[in-house]
Structure formats: structure tokens, C-alpha cells
Assembly symmetry: C2
Homo-oligomer: 309 residues x 2
């Protein structure tokens, strides 16, 4: 058999532009029927916690991927969360890569949001707000800067101080609250593990963009489900976001929100099949995370390893 590469989490991570190109390509393949995106499968563990399996096929690249991500509550302290991606060749049936995907997941999540910023934010967007200063928030800042020239960045998190902004750039300022950070911003990136609304999306200007990745916790949401009807709603992949997004589930149950109320998703926007934002309302982009993103970033990491070896 051919050799399989094991990628530890301390291995080289692909550059932002590389991940973004890989993710964009994956959604283009999805639009063209050359990628397959099955639903994620959640398996509950008898002693608590679960394992989520994300599968995907990228036919042009000739790979099938499955990422398994266990969420393991501990008797004391924080839950253990890991993510491992197995990449198989659909030409030979042999494994190509087993990758620790903790950091890769953060990168592909931020790259997907950046793709949405590129497709949905105003071309002249220059005021950015990032809510959440963990690894996901920091990756979002790095990735968003690749697609727009932001001249003013306001960040906020529950616990952050000025010292947490070290190294992020002179244009980054700490806001006193999430709503203060978001006020007047052209793009607001929600990067929290909050289970309840973080900012009041009704305060955003028409045409401004607010994005949410949220968490895998059941019904987790970062914006008020009641507000969805007043926004231009987009998703990474409409059926997946409608099935898994907490604010969408709640909006469907309580406010008559339906799948067709999602104006478009990334594949639709890239293919020109989904309408652009109306400009009359704020724009909401929700990503739930897809196997094709995991497959794309794992493949990019493998190609870098193969080139450098």
C-alpha cells in the first residue's frame, strides 16, 4: 500500500489565502455537482457527550474525507474536544492522510466566513467588528483582512483586556460592549460560544453583514431568532444550516421561518444562482461547518506537506 501521512496539530498550517482558495474551490465543486455533502451524523455516547462525523467527497481531487469530532465532558473541568480527519483516495481506496484537525477546523471555519464576507459584504466595507477573542475570533480577523481592506477594527469579549489585543495591529481597538463594537460596523463577525444572542442585529445598518458560526450545542445561537425575518439570510449550505442552526430551528418553530427564507448559500452565490443581498436590510450569514470544508483544508495541508518533503 502507498504511505499514509500523519499530521499532528503542531505541523505546518496552510496560509489564509491557501485555505480560502481550497474552501472556495470546494463550494464551486458543490455547485457543479462535483462535490458531495452528506448530512453530519451525531452519535450520542452512553456516558454523555457525543461524536459528530462530517463526511464529504471532492470528486475532481479524487478524495473522500471523514472528520470525527468527539465532545467528551469530564468529571471536573472543561470537556475534551478533538477532531481527526481521515482522507481516502477515491482512485485507489487507500488512505492518504490522518490529520489532527483542531487547528485546521478553526482555519476552515474562518476561511468560510471570509468567503461569505467576500461574496456578501459591500466592496468598500472598512469597519470590522469581531465579537469573541479566542482562536476562532483571531482566525476570523486574519481571514477577513484577506478579502477586505478594513481600516478600523473593534473587538470585544466577556473577559478581554487591552493586553489581549497585543500583536493584532494598531487599527484594532477594544470596545466596551458587543453592541458598541457592532455599532456602525460594515461587517460583524460573531465568534463566541454563547448559547444566547450576543448583539442586537436590529441595530445594524441596511447592507451591513453579520456572521455567526456558533457552537454545536443544541439550539445554540448568537442572534435573536425573532430577528431573522428582518434580515437577508444566507448560509454556508442551506439544508445543513436549516437543519442544525439553533436560531433557524427556533425561528422555524416559533416564527414560521422556512428553508426557502434562506436567500442563498455559498454554492448558489458562486454559481450565480442565488440573489445578491437586497441592500434594504442587514445581511445575516450562518455557517454550521461542512465536511467539504474539512476535506478541502486537509487536502491543502497534505499538498503542502508533500511539496515541502
Amino acid at each position: 500500500m502507498s504511505s499514509i501521512t500523519i499530521l499532528r496539530d503542531d505541523g505546518p498550517a496552510p496560509a489564509e489565502a491557501t485555505v480560502q482558495a481550497a474552501v472556495r474551490q470546494a463550494f464551486e465543486q458543490l455547485a457543479a455537482g462535483r462535490a458531495v455533502q452528506p448530512r453530519q451524523v451525531v452519535t450520542d455516547l452512553p456516558d454523555g457527550g457525543d461524536v459528530i462525523a462530517y463526511q464529504a467527497v471532492l470528486a475532481d481531487a479524487g478524495v473522500y474525507a471523514v472528520k470525527v469530532s468527539p465532545y467528551l465532558p469530564q468529571p471536573a473541568g472543561k470537556a475534551v474536544v478533538t477532531a481527526w480527519t481521515l482522507l481516502l483516495s477515491t482512485r485507489t481506496g487507500q488512505p492518504l492522510l490522518l490529520a489532527d484537525s483542531a487547528r485546521l477546523t478553526t482555519e476552515r471555519t474562518a476561511a468560510t466566513t471570509a468567503l461569505a464576507v467576500d461574496l456578501l459584504a459591500r466592496p468598500d466595507a472598512h469597519r470590522l467588528a469581531v465579537i469573541g477573542l479566542g482562536p476562532v475570533g483571531r482566525a476570523h480577523l486574519r481571514h477577513a483582512r484577506v478579502v477586505r481592506r478594513f481600516t478600523e477594527v473593534r473587538m470585544w469579549s466577556r473577559t478581554a483586556t487591552e493586553a489581549d489585543l497585543d500583536g493584532l495591529g494598531g487599527d484594532v481597538h477594544l470596545a466596551a460592549s458587543a453592541d458598541e463594537a457592532a455599532d456602525g460596523a460594515d461587517v460583524v463577525l460573531l465568534c463566541t460560544s454563547a448559547a444566547a444572542p450576543v448583539v442586537d442585529a436590529r441595530r445594524l445598518a441596511p447592507g451591513s453583514l453579520i456572521t455567526s458560526v456558533s457552537t454545536n450545542a443544541p439550539m445554540a445561537h448568537e442572534i435573536d431568532p425573532a430577528v431573522l425575518g428582518n434580515l437577508d439570510v444566507y448560509a454556508d449550505y442551506a439544508p445543513a444550516a436549516f437543519a442544525a442552526g439553533g436560531e433557524m430551528r427556533l425561528a422555524a418553530a416559533e416564527h414560521g421561518f422556512t428553508l426557502t427564507d434562506i436567500r442563498g448559500d455559498l454554492a448558489g452565490l458562486l454559481a450565480g444562482a442565488a440573489p445578491a443581498p437586497t441592500g434594504a436590510r442587514p445581511v445575516f450569514f450562518r455557517s454550521v461547518g461542512l465536511g467539504i470544508e474539512d476535506a478541502a483544508v486537509a487536502l491543502a495541508a497534505l499538498q503542502i506537506l508533500e511539496t515541502s518533503s
Copy 2:
């Protein structure tokens, strides 16, 4: 991170009794609510073929497993079929093993059938028929001999000659037809890739056992769906077999066969919750293959590697 073991197909395979004990334990855990058996997921590939993912949790052993098995048709010649199992610790979230599961799948399949023979065949069963002389048939012969003292074995396949029996034992004889092999047998093991009935189950004596593993091809079956109503029907896992077994799908569509017509499955038999065969009719056991079997055999292989190193 802890080290991960890579098991190639030429590594040591666990002994029959070891695999059977592991498989039995997995079904006991399933009966006790300590194992989780999600449905298998089939992902179709855009250029033909598919990948089946088999997941499972064995909570007492602290492992989650996913086996991915691509079926890849080739422009010329036979389709490529591989199987790889990734074992993760549900204690640490770290991978333990990535195993080539081609041979392990054959072993766990035969061990599961042997468990059914142990639970469903008459204690004094001594005449065995094995239909199919490929790796699955040969493994079935080895495994069946662990649970019953067969004194006479008749085998048959479309292409086999006497030379193919070399090394199988002096009590093994080649039959002129599948029905001749099955006539008068206490246990008939169907191990073919046939897409249509192989033997006439109506000719079997009351209380005799016929087993079928069949293939993953849609609607593949080795016995006539119309006969199911005249047999005591058992399965490896009733919901999985009813959903995936070709003869059960066809019997449901054409002959009013329902899930409750399956008298029991391995977990039910081990727990004493399922009734024994009536003795008045032939007994049919269908296995479709389960993730808990893959998890159990992979774990057994890992334990052998750890002990021997």
C-alpha cells in the same frame, strides 16, 4: 499526543476464538445499552461507486470506531473495494488505531455468523454445508468449527474443483450443486456474492439453520424473499437487517413481511429477550454487518499488537 498504531493488512490477525469473544461481547454491550449502533451511511460518488461508513461506540472499552469502505468501479476489470477502520478513545479523544480492515471484515463477518450458529443451531448439529469457497466461505468454515463439532462438511461454488478443498480437512467434500450440499445439512452457510437465490430454503428440515451475509449490492439476496414467511427469521441487528437486507426489502414490498416478523437478533438472544427457534420450521439468520463488529475486531487486533510489542 499518544501514539497511533497503523495496522496493515499483512499484520497479525486475531485467532477465531478471540474474534468471536470480541464480537459476542460487543452484542452483549449492545443488549445492555453500553454499545451504540448508528445506521450505516452510504455516500454515492459523482463518478460511480460509493463509500459506506460504519460507526459504533463500545462504551465499556472506551472506544468509538468508524470504518469507511469505498466501492470503486474501474473502467476495466474488477471494482476496487477497501475498508479502513479508525479507532478513537472516548476517554482522551485521541486516535488509537488506523487499520486496514479488509481481512478483519471477513473475520468479524464469519465470527458473527458463528455466534448465530452457537445461539440458533441444534447443539448436536454435525452436518455442515458451506456455499461459496472464497475468503468469506473459508473463514465461515474455520469459525463454524469453533462452535460445533461438524463431522461432515459439504461445500460448493460455481467454479470450485476438488483441488480447491486442499488443506480444508479430510471431512470436507465437494458437492455437485448448492442444493445437494444443503440437502440434509443441519447448518447451511451462504457465502456467495450472488444477487439471486442460491438454494431452495423450503427443502431444509425443520430446526436446521441457514445463514446469509450477502453483499452490499442493492437488493442482493441469497434466498427467495417469498420463503421468509415459512422460516424462523433472525438477524444480527433487526433494524439494520430489515433496512438493508435485500430479501427482507423485497419480502416487505411483495409479501407483507414486517420488522416484527424478525423473531430476534443477537443482542436479544444474548439477553434472553428473544424467543428461541420454534423447531417447527427451518431457521434463517441474516447479517448485514455492523459497526460494533468492526470496532470489536479492530480493538482485538490492537490489543494483540500491544501485547506482542
